[in-house]
Symmetry: C2
Subunit: 589 residues, 2 copies
């Protein structure tokens, strides 16, 4: 039996040359054992680092013998003297020293792990690592991610506190609403046949907190969506959820910028700019083909409708006649692309519904090759100026319905940037995208629907169009985009009951529909609702960027697979029949 | 339509005489309107306080007219000049000033609320307040509770960070385990017939984080229990969950004391003592009859078996013969109790299975009355000394099986203290209760069971008794008690695989049982588990004490009723048949 007296005097990441000749005690895991001649070296690992232990049989035969029984991942506790190394290891933070051991206790033995706890271990299947997550968590880089995640949460909380926001916890056992994604349901035992729903977001609760006069709220909120997962989604995810009363868009933007600045400053020592650039939704779509433009590289889309119109190129002119558009993109240095490479790009865009790509190359004498022959020399000059093509560039063209052109060129733009390594590593390009459309057209139902949600305020300048041309009405919704990812989104909410009903009317919602969809909430808004607005950050996504990983499972301690299962605990699982009968439900075959 | 330009220069709690003659703008709710002659006074309220506005028709007729339309809970925005009042109101923080209004905007009207937003409003049914929680949240005292809750969470987080604990989020969608209370279940859509369970605590995950080398973990964790609720319980509740590796009981105690100290210091400006007293479980049961003694008053239980044995009182002697015990309690000044009052106490204890109370009164000449006649003068002197009775005191006696005596006298002790107002207001009496028994005897199953859970370490001094007398074995489990409430509990966990199997054997768990009950977890512990230990605070309970309320709903923003329903959103509720068929479940009639 072990004594419980295994206090550490230091951690395994702490000792330096200045500690030489000190007596210390350390505890941790056997990372590696090397037997060099008679001497045994142990790399001892804990969350804080690795320290080298030395067992010399000339000094203590019994200890040396005990050390020879140590295997990978045993947990041990040692005492010893810090010795400055003759040959220092500059790659290790503790590489200036080693410990001459005077006492060794084996605290806990270990079965042979199914994989080595090593960053460079190649080819381990992710499923195996998830099954043994408790071992994978011992990896240095994963541990660093959770240290960063902790730091980010704490720094953001302290920042929000300084801005007088209160963190208020909202319920997990909520009510199912017919809007939005699919809910996770929880059968009620006390009310057989009734169900709670896990929240997709605390949206209604945070607005009610504003109605309740809490003034400024935030929460690191766990949210749930029972959707078929993409690789970067999890069934439960974390939002930094924020709402404030009596503020303007600028106020919430400043708050959100502060959250970003404090996270990057505390986690990465990076000072972000005082404020982030703002782009309208219209411009984002026009110049990048997407509402989440990646601004780490340029390569904008340029509309060349008026030039194409005057060309002889039937493909372009036909599209323009059918209300389509023609956009071009100038790939710097792209004139070296072979015909085969360009064919690959054409194949790439076909996945996004674009039938083909036109192209021209820019030589010392201007644009030529491929579709250049359909353009007069004057038009070619005009085109070259419009797309700012220089000798050695490649100009690509897409002609189709605008939504297809945008989608295809957005993907193509990012694809080429990645392939051509145009993306500056470590760049952090934030941008606000504002003035989203208030409504979208639902082709299936042949009516307008809310782009965001029906409580989003119309842009004050567009109120006059509400009745005449609702699809032209912009909203006071905004997204924050970082490196091409939407990391936050929000809006000014409607606090005026007349305006709210005007919107409901436009959405063709009857009083019954409203009650069914939004229940008490619409009534609650009539008891004195302050102007209020908010935003919600996808915190896991931010942490992926902070931790420089593409795998969301690297920033969640116990993640689920793309099939929403936990391979370690084997959740979900069968339960006892009595559990189901308590809940008055049964499963279908 | 309102303009969105309603920035506030100040809050409603901020202005003082020093701001006199400044132009300011405020926004908030109309708390009260008083028409005094021609002048209209408005109390404007926000989260930060109340400021008095003055509308004088002599200054602006139109504004005055608009002000006359204001009703309770309208949301308005004003501009005006700060005026030092001639007659100051010392009861209001802003009572030195008022605002002479130059501009008024009605931002949002309000239906007549179902109750006034007023602390002193009597007799409003709790159900009505819960239905209109968004209005009740406007009450000053509720808002203060959430400000305190926010402060407590932030202060505790910063404290834990300084101690190098990482906050790590564990899953909400977990696995149902057959141990413990009833789980809330979540049907899986992807795996029909399988279920997730909401966590009753993150116990297994936090131990796995230790196995994973995270060293020090904490989390403000939402936990769930589908139990029939008591008035101070909620189906979802918050724990401050803590676990550390390579520590001793003293380390976790110090950490927990630090959490308490930081919460009371940040919320209440109260400096708690450097460390809290420690009492063994044996002493707690002996002297207070409970493992959560309320130490705000004395009145200990005193065992008088040996004196009772020598008396002529058959009732006592019979109980002693049947392995019962006799305990006494001295009520200071209690000799004034009438026979009727003592009869009421006897009725009170009968609820706890105690058939009667013996009593003696202490006069200037010592103990007398009631059962004194059964005791010789020498025994009476011995008894008086044992219970430290003085002239004017009442001594109460209970004789029965020890568990009944303890339960009855524990309740009686607290009952009398409350009735006699022996409890010092604002007293905060913390105590650790340590060395809980490792096992309990399960009469139904005729075998020993774990008192805490089977991963709790036995007390090292008692290891020898494990096989011979397991019920005598103490554990390294500990509770933190405040004013008679258990506010935290935890234990040193077993990290030694041999010892773990010894415990499983004692609990008569077969390999199959172990796998079924604990699954992968027992296997996980075999891959190099550090010694580790932890504690979990009932955070809602702590906040009840901080906020000085007996109602748990006062410290939870959107609480549920004792029947686990949300009266505001009407959760749980019926859901669409398609939602159930997606999940491959059906409800039973």
């Amino acid at each position: 039996m072990q004594t419980l007296d295994y206090k550490r005097s230091h951690t395994c990441g702490e000792l330096r040359a200045l500690h030489a000749s000190k007596t210390v005690s350390l505890s941790g895991w056997v990372h590696k054992r090397r037997d060099l001649g008679a001497i045994i070296f142990i790399d001892l690992r804990d969350r804080y680092g690795i320290t080298q232990l030395v067992f010399n049989p000339d000094q203590d035969v019994a200890l040396h013998k005990l050390a020879s029984t140590l295997r990978s991942e045993y947990v041990i506790s040692i005492s010893g003297t810090v010795i400055e190394r003759e040959v220092k290891n500059s790659k290790m933070e503790t590489g200036d020293i080693e410990i001459q051991i005077s006492d060794l206790q084996i605290l806990s033995e270990a079965k042979t792990p199914p994989f080595l706890i090593n960053e460079d271990e190649p080819g381990i299947q992710e499923a195996l690592k998830l099954k043994y997550r408790f071992l994978d968590l011992r990896r240095h880089s994963l541990q660093q991610n959770f240290i960063l995640r902790h730091k980010a949460m704490l720094a953001a909380r302290n920042y929000m506190d300084r801005q007088h926001f209160l963190e208020i916890t909202t319920p997990i056992l909520g009510k199912s609403t017919p809007e939005g994604a699919r809910d996770y349901l929880v059968p009620s035992r006390i009310y057989p046949g009734s169900f709670y729903a896990l929240p997709q977001s605390p949206q209604i609760f945070k607005q009610l907190l504003m109605v309740g006069g809490m003034d400024r709220y935030f929460q690191f909120a766990t949210c749930f969506r029972d959707e078929d997962l993409r690789s970067d989604r999890q069934p439960e995810f974390m939002q930094i959820d924020i709402e404030m009363s009596f503020g303007k868009r600028e106020d919430i933007m400043k708050t959100a910028e502060g959250v970003c600045k404090t996270i990057f400053s505390s986690c990465k020592n990076i000072e972000l700019p005082e404020s982030f650039p703002v782009m309208t939704h219209l411009d984002a779509m026009e110049f990048y083909g997407t509402d989440r433009p990646d601004l780490r590289f340029d390569m904008r889309l340029i509309r060349v409708d008026s030039i194409a119109e005057r060309s002889e190129f039937a493909v372009f002119k036909d599209q323009l006649k059918q209300d389509g558009c023609v956009k071009a993109m100038c790939v710097k240095g792209g004139s070296e692309f072979s015909r085969k490479e360009i064919d690959k790009l054409t194949a790439f865009v076909s996945d996004f519904g674009l039938r083909g790509l036109g192209w021209m190359k820019c030589g010392p004498d201007g644009l030529n090759a491929n579709i250049a022959k359909f353009f007069s020399p004057e038009l070619l000059s005009e085109l070259q100026a419009a797309v700012d093509a220089k000798d050695g560039d490649l100009v690509l063209f897409a002609a189709a319905q605008e939504s297809i052109v945008n989608q295809a060129l957005d993907h193509l733009r990012r694809h080429i940037a990645k392939e051509q390594k145009l993306i500056e590593e470590n760049a952090l390009c934030f941008t606000w995208v504002v003035d989203f459309p208030l409504f979208a057209w639902d082709k299936n139902e042949n009516r307008i629907t809310s782009e965001h949600h029906p409580f989003t305020t119309p842009h004050p300048e567009d109120l006059a169009h509400l009745k005449t041309d609702p699809l032209k009405v912009r909203s006071l919704a905004y997204d924050l985009v970082l490196n091409g990812y939407e990391i936050a989104g929000g809006s000014q909410r409607i606090h005026d009951s007349d305006l709210q009903h005007q919107i409901f009317d436009l959405l063709q919602l009857s009083q019954n529909d409203i009650e069914e969809k939004f229940g008490f909430f619409v009534d609650a808004l009539q008891y004195g609702t302050p102007p209020h607005l908010g935003i919600a950050f996808g915190f896991d996504r931010i942490m992926m960027i902070v931790c420089e990983t593409d795998n969301i499972r690297d920033v969640i301690a116990f993640p689920k697979t793309i099939k929403a299962s936990d391979l370690m605990s084997e959740a979900p699982s069968k339960v006892a029949p009595s559990q189901l009968s308590d809940l008055a439900i049964k499963t279908l075959e």
